[in-house]
Symmetry: C2
Subunit: 390 residues, 2 copies
């Protein structure tokens, strides 16, 4: 069995996507830029007042003749201040070339046609210079930049309304198992309610990935082959749950082989999720996860999310992680690495009771996953690598 | 001027929402439960095999007669094992009442009609007992619980397909300013590209809030009154940008008063965002933010997000925060508290160059906001409160 690190390395190497899409800026949240963006303008586009006050041309003294006003949005390109003249100006308004500085309204005494400034600020004060934030032609954002709300605001500031980004993967889900029935129905004896598909769909929705197809199959070889074939033809990433262990009715590995999917690994030395299989067909990725729901959720967070992020043009990263201080004691683990449901608060983290891979109750109460290497004893106060779910 | 803490306290007290909605489970991501949920079933609903192997009824010895198989999904309620009988069983399958334990397939030698078990596990081994995860009628999740993908999986496991949650707020946006033009258009001299509305819309989209109306208004009192009146009638939360400072064309405070909005505070001792105004009209909330885009983004993250979370039934919390180690030196701050654009990596954080409230470029490069109290000097290695944007 390979380690989690080796599993991650092999997945990372398999992820490839160079397909580029032009999108409306407002629809680009969470995408990654597929090319550098140069600024099409100087920002600000003109010398701009940073305050409500008066734009002043100095000569001598601190008394100035007032000659009108410039509102935000006004074209002040023809305004010329003479020596010892001042013009009322507002935040964001165009500042005349002839102005030496802007004095804040709070620091001024206004009289009829004149103002008195008790303490003159330095030359250039309260003027945002043309191109001060960025100059036309300068690099605004680099290829690979994650589009956040502030990115969208910044590009809108530059007048940009469409950008080029890498495409998101088309993801399909296949749930296997004779025992699965939809929630809301009456359950025949021996059956259970299906939860993996809706759980995966919503985990993907959180990162703005819409699932393009979600099938269920009974545990027969032919049905499994047919469902894999259908979903693989439509998707970039196929996630399968169940049917990947050693039982007589676990047909997923065989059905993947029949679909010419190349096995990259099968089984990882981890808990939960030991039977985890990963394969590829050309550039398509197949994650075949064990059917236990907590194992599905863990493998989705730890392996599928980083793969999707890399596919979209970002780094091979999923949940954000950091070292937190453990409030819990864990007896020495065996040879498998462990992902433990946990609750993080501030700089501390507590490992929750109920770590069985069948138990989603614990996962529903968790806001973090703690990683423990193999053969590790955890004491209170130890630092542990913690992945934040929310 | 009030402190940021006082501003937060006053906003928290003003947020009220008791409206409840029944939603499909699959559409409930990010909502908060409006009532306790009791489990409608035992989970598992029956004794269940945790492994692929054999269910065994002990008598003596370690040799057992095999009598068929139970697949996952099969009704095994009529299966009765005699002493020293074993039945093949698969993970998730119903385990007969008469079975004493399940032995893993890996630990068994299979022969014609018999199996040999070299080392028998303890009684009850590898059987997940009926109701082991949760019993019918027990508390499954508490009122106020945040619905995550794992929550959805857990509730689906319980057969639940609809739940009751608190409603999300209807949010409207009003951008004020004669100088604003839409990105993608040709800019007349003196004008700038509008960025605040699309930035706020996408920041809200990230937390699954859809903006129900977004208006722009010129800087006249009547137009500002009319726009506020229209948007306030449709929304629970109104966010206004610009027009809240001391200039002659800042009509927002006056227009809010004309709309019977009660001022809760105006001006906070912070940088950026000093002119920030907050008011209420009955249970409706009005956030009037200064027009500088970095101030808008900061106030949205620090004040609007916690208010929305509380409205939805969660705690008054926005971005997640923690103490990180500073890589930067900041000279002693003045009397205002500061929110600084920063980049966090692991347990460390660097404060970025370019903190002007007009600069979105820095915000686009930031993944965190560092909070500094008033009159504070920051040295390398000091711990600082850091809010993670992503």
């Amino acid at each position: 069995m390979i380690s989690t690190k080796e599993a991650l390395n092999r997945i990372e190497r398999a992820v490839k996507n160079e397909v580029v899409l032009t999108v409306e800026l407002k629809n680009s949240l969470g995408c990654f830029l597929s090319e550098d963006i140069e600024s099409p303008i100087d920002l600000p586009m003109f010398d701009q007042s940073a305050m409500d006050g008066y734009a002043i041309k100095l000569e001598d003294g601190n008394k100035f003749k007032t000659v009108g006003e410039i509102q935000a949005g006004d074209d002040a390109s023809t305004v010329v201040l003479e020596n010892n003249q001042a013009i009322k100006i507002f935040t964001g308004a165009m500042c005349p070339d002839s102005a030496d500085l802007v004095c804040r309204i709070e620091d001024i005494e206004e009289m009829d046609n004149t103002i008195l400034v008790n303490e003159l600020p330095l030359e250039g004060a309260n003027i945002r210079r043309k191109g001060e934030q960025i100059k036309k032609g300068d690099l605004a954002l680099k290829k690979g930049h994650l589009v956040t709300p502030a990115t969208i605001g910044f590009l809108a500031n530059l007048g940009i309304s469409k950008i080029k980004v890498f495409t998101s993967p088309k993801v399909a889900i296949l749930s296997t198992g004779n025992e699965l029935c939809p929630p809301g129905s009456i359950l025949p004896i021996g059956k259970i309610y299906e939860s993996n598909a809706v759980m995966l769909e919503t985990a993907l929705k959180q990162i703005d990935i819409e699932v393009i197809g979600s099938n269920k199959t009974l545990d027969t070889l032919q049905a499994t082959i047919d469902n894999i074939s259908e979903l693989l033809s439509q998707s970039d990433i196929l996630i399968i749950t169940g049917g990947i262990s050693v039982g007589d009715y676990d047909f997923v590995a065989e059905a993947l082989e029949a679909n010419d999917v190349e096995q990259i690994f099968h089984k990882v030395s981890q808990k939960p999720g030991k039977p985890f299989y990963f394969g590829t067909k050309d550039d398509k990725l197949v994650f075949a996860l064990p059917g236990n729901p907590a194992a599905v959720m863990t493998c989705c967070y730890m392996y599928v999310l980083p793969a999707i992020q890399k596919f979209k043009g970002g780094g091979f990263e999923g949940l954000s992680s950091m070292e937190l201080v453990s409030n819990s004691v864990i007896e020495k683990t065996n040879g498998r690495e462990q992902f433990l449901k946990a609750f993080a608060l501030g700089n501390e983290v507590s490992i929750l009771e109920g770590q069985s891979s069948a138990m989603l109750h614990t996962f529903a109460e968790a806001n973090a996953i703690v990683y423990l290497p193999a053969h590790t004893q955890l004491e209170k106060g130890d630092k542990v690598l913690t992945y934040k779910i929310y």
